[in-house]
Amino acid sequence: MVEQGATPRVSKARKRALKAAKALTTPLLPDDYIELMNPMWTTRELRGEIIEVRPETEDASTIVIRPSAKWLGHWPGQYLRIGVEIDGRRHWRAYSLTSDPDHPDGLISVTIKHVPEGKLSPYFTRRAEVGSMVYLGGVEGEFRLPHPRPDKLLFISAGSGITPVWSMVRNLAEDGSLGDAIHIHCCRDTDDFIFGETLRELADGDGYELHEHHSTEAANHLTPAGVEELAPDWREREAFLSGPPEMLEEMKSHWEAEGDPERLHLERFQPVIGGEGTKEAGEGGSVRFRVTEVEGECDGRTPILECGENAGAKLPFGCRMGICHTCVGKLAEGKVRDLRTGEVHGDEGQMIRTCVNAPEGHVEVEL
């Protein structure tokens, strides 16, 4: 199965009408024909139309999108999977939502920094035109503010990692509850600061403290000591970090060694699957792939997908981190353990993502 857009919410009456009309269109769906008139009228997957491309800095732009169905909201800090067709192929990437969850016109936006060697970011920042269609996947992400709001906050962001933090700060400011918050942002210079202008304005008020750490070379990057200096009470603050992996790793070690890692929240985009990153390793087990007729054994840290590949099976895969659903297979027998959460689950007939689940005992998959 291939990754597809989220399922839009459809009224019961419309659902019933579509179901009845299927008698005439089978094996196609009424949507297949409705789509011919306007691709935004389909009820099968959520799509969106780009209605504005707004430059933020020299190399970052905000893409404003009108979803094809009512936007059901999101938490500030969460990200959205967006699909785009480039040279005949559909590609997906995750971007933090930078729009107000309750936008009056139901619009959403993401803010994207140009990465020359990337595939999607050059499309969005250089080629995307108003009127282009995009595919909208599900809203995901655990990087968001807890409820109720912690008294003391610390935000550390770098480069385009500002986007989820911006969503949080803006949301708090709108609610008038920005309160006691320290924000350290790393970027090249004053102009390179995405949303810099607005955030500087916010910092003029009480409570919200903004520090810009400018550096163009690695030697000059923000260190735990630098954090200590700008936020001496960092141990008492609920901290939200978004930036390059090296920075996250360095800060994480620091929090683990000297602070309370429970109060540290990281935006990784890429969950760490298998190996050392596994939360709770299970027993592992054996897997039988019914279609390819391959059998394999693996430990509690190895996903089913890898287990099959090691045993010589050719299996479908995509992101290999539990997002795109390309690798799904029907669980015919047994239980599996989710390597991201450690949760053991699985019912007969359930579709499971083989890239983030390890067998828990004997498992049979229809792949």
Partner: protein, 403 residues
């Protein structure tokens, strides 16, 4: 490595593989693979636009024909609507359905033009067909005893198949199969051999029967109840007849194209021993000589889902059908350099051979027909000359009528 030849009544047909050295076979494998990879690398916007416009064209044509048929009690509307619907069903089954379900468009990553989600407007459920066709037939092509598409388990189309008395009736049920081909395909996917031998568990057979039943019910309700009802009381019967006619037209046409792909005289069949040679080059050669093309113009190729490029399709079942035409000259070039045949012929010739074979082999005996000589590019520069064809001589043609 392979020395086996198909022996029937003392006549030996030499498998061209036996003429090739191991080095040549490896080189052939490399060349065919390289051609595949070149095209696969090049897939992009142009191809995506092609399949999308064909899908759009089919949906518009189908919708329009159905609307015209609402007035089917008037003869011109009946004729126009029936012709449109027949064409729509043919395009949907052949150029779209067959090829999408082969995974030819999976590279687009479009969840709705994808082999895992597609279902076609015919009686056979997608899942069963993908197993019997994509897996069994395309892996063990023309291996007698393994490829269930050699005669579809109900016909004798090659003298290497054992004769049974009930084959005497095959010229008659062949006509029935043409008319009701979609049902034949649906049932064929069940694989009676596997059921009889107990290879297929009963629970799986039950699931498959259920899915055939479900698909059949939907197809029947649509064509023979729902749409006729939309034509009102006075148009019910004429629309029902129109839909029935369109289904028959699609069945006869797809049956003809598909039979011409593997049962004309030039095509080789293989023993299980020959089929077991798993070198890449050997597999490519088996695909090459185990299939036959049909000459025709672009419209003909389109209406046959490019299965008139059966040779290219068998070499590269995962490449978009729209690319076969441009690959053909390169395939011919490989054939010429290695002294391999390139099987092709005009529709009337290929179809005629198939029908003659079906009549002849209804009776015991029969010998393998003459095969095509190694391919030679025509002296004239304009492509598709009279190359590689078997020209049946007059005596053969005369005998054909008398089994």
């Amino acid at each position: 490595m392979t020395t086996a030849t198909a022996k029937t009544e003392g006549t030996e047909i030499e498998n061209p593989l036996n003429r090739l050295t191991d080095e040549q076979i490896d080189a052939i494998g490399e060349e065919f693979q390289q051609l595949h990879d070149e095209v696969f690398e090049d897939l992009g916007e142009r191809d995506a636009t092609y399949i999308r416009s064909i899908i759009q064209f089919h949906r518009r044509l189908a919708a329009l024909s159905r609307i015209v048929l609402m007035a089917s009690q008037y003869k011109p509307a009946w004729a126009l609507g029936t012709a449109g619907l027949s064409a729509a069903k043919i395009i949907e089954n052949m150029e779209i359905g067959h090829n999408v379900m082969h995974g030819q468009w999976d590279w687009m990553n479009d969840p709705y033009i994808h082999s895992s989600t597609w279902d076609w407007d015919t009686a056979s459920p997608a899942s069963a067909w993908k197993h019997s066709h994509n897996y069994v037939h395309h892996t063990f092509t023309n291996v007698v005893g393994k490829d269930k598409d050699v005669g579809y388990e109900i016909m004798r189309v090659d003298p290497a198949q054992k004769w049974y008395p009930w084959y005497v009736l095959q010229p008659f049920y062949n006509v029935l199969l043409m008319a009701f081909f979609e049902w034949g395909v649906a049932v064929h996917d069940l694989d009676f051999d596997a059921i009889k031998s107990g290879k297929k568990p009963k629970s799986q057979v039950r699931d498959e029967l259920k899915s055939i039943g479900r698909k059949a019910r939907r197809q029947i309700v649509k064509d023979y109840i729902a749409f006729p009802a939309l034509s009102g009381r006075r148009g019910f019967k004429s629309t029902l007849l129109a839909n029935f006619t369109a289904n028959i037209a699609r069945n006869v046409w797809s049956n003809a194209i598909i039979f011409c792909g593997h049962f004309p005289d030039q095509v080789y069949v293989f023993t299980e021993e020959e089929g077991a040679d798993d070198r890449k080059g050997a597999w490519y050669v088996r695909q090459l000589i185990g299939a036959a093309n049909i000459d025709g113009n672009s419209f003909f190729h389109f209406m046959s889902g490019n299965l008139s490029y059966q040779v290219e399709h068998h070499l590269y079942p995962d490449l978009p059908s729209s690319r076969y035409q441009e690959i053909a000259p390169k395939v011919k070039d490989i054939c010429e350099r290695y002294g391999l045949p390139y099987n092709t012929g005009p529709f009337s010739q290929q179809w005629g051979m198939v029908q003659r074979t079906i009549v002849r082999l209804a009776f015991p005996g029969g010998k393998p027909r003459r095969k095509a000589p190694p391919y030679k590019a025509p002296a004239s520069t304009n492509g598709d000359g009279g190359n590689g064809r078997v020209e049946p001589d007059r005596a053969e043609r005369a005998l054909a009528a008398f089994p």
